[in-house]
Symmetry: C2
Amino acid sequence: MQKAIQKRKLKTRARLFAAAEDVIERNGYEALRVEEVVQAAGVAKGTFFAHFRDKDALMEILIGQKLVDCFDSVEQGPTPTTVPDIINALAPIHAFMTSERYVFDLILRYSGATAIAEIGPIAMCFERYVRMVAKWLEHAQVRRDVSPDLLADGVQAFAIQSMSLTYCALHTSQSFQNRLEIYLKAWLTPTG
Amino acid sequence: MQKAIQKRKLKTRARLFAAAEDVIERNGYEALRVEEVVQAAGVAKGTFFAHFRDKDALMEILIGQKLVDCFDSVEQGPTPTTVPDIINALAPIHAFMTSERYVFDLILRYSGATAIAEIGPIAMCFERYVRMVAKWLEHAQVRRDVSPDLLADGVQAFAIQSMSLTYCALHTSQSFQNRLEIYLKAWLTPTG
DNA sequence: ATCAAAAAATGACCACGGTCAATATAAAAT
DNA sequence: ATTTTATATTGACCGTGGTCATTTTTTGAT
């Protein structure tokens, strides 16, 4: 028989989150150590893993939450209608995704959920990205020979490609924004 | 003054590679343990790290080598001229990249070299991918309003997107090949 | 209040990647 | 040959993520 979750557990969980956010605030995501978090939270190490499957699971939640915040703020703003506007509108999301190499890699790893049961916040955001952009494209000045959903998928693909090249020393001649603009103009408004 | 590398070192290195390949042959890339490799090679653990910066460095070399083999065999074949042919031609490369989740993630992580000095085999292959596809596109039946280089960049972006979705339970309705074909038709032969 | 059972927390312990001072071996100088 | 110096190897040791049998706390029934 299932008993209800105790308030104690919620409190412990909250303390772990607070401690983790504090640690990250100071040293960034990559430098986070589980040991440091549990000490700051005043609990034993085992407790951490009773709350989170592993370290990555905590990271997924924290980074996912930040991503959700980004999406929320982007969706507050006006609907962009041109390629430069779209890139501008997406900027906060892309900026956070590339704020740390570690963050970018983790997001990529969790962008697809292997099983339906374990669709986490990051995978949800990837879905949301496509839905949001597709909605924009319905009313934007873009090609109409393919569906907005397909176009939105492409925007995501090109954004990821551009962000990846951000970390590549072979492609420093262009900034992220420039590169993405070139890609998206060719993708969304072909003149063939 | 620099003395020459001793033959002994080359032998040890060869033993490490052979042992690692053997271990991978049996259990795949992800399950590889450094301890297992050094035992099979008959050397101490420290020796491993005198030859490779870390475990990933060995993986990059081994996976990079396999990738090079894939590219070599693809470049042996005929030059594809249509979208389905292009997808077919690239199949061996894509197949290897998605042969193991671990392999795919590692390849993505190493696809861009942070510093010019440390461009490894995987980053080289990503360059090669674009060069090869761009060459194909020069003589393929595709749009001409943008450069083959740009088109090839896009092919890479869409291929990665398609491979990523392979690992996502939210997108099982379509196979990798189907999805990529839809993307590439829209990208390479728009009818706007 | 007392007790039984479920939930939560604990910390000693393990697995595995990675380090480094010490040692052994090879090559060059005498 | 002997000595010197650079190169290569060693294995005890460490850091950190993760496990699990045991203990503590909470809850609900009597």
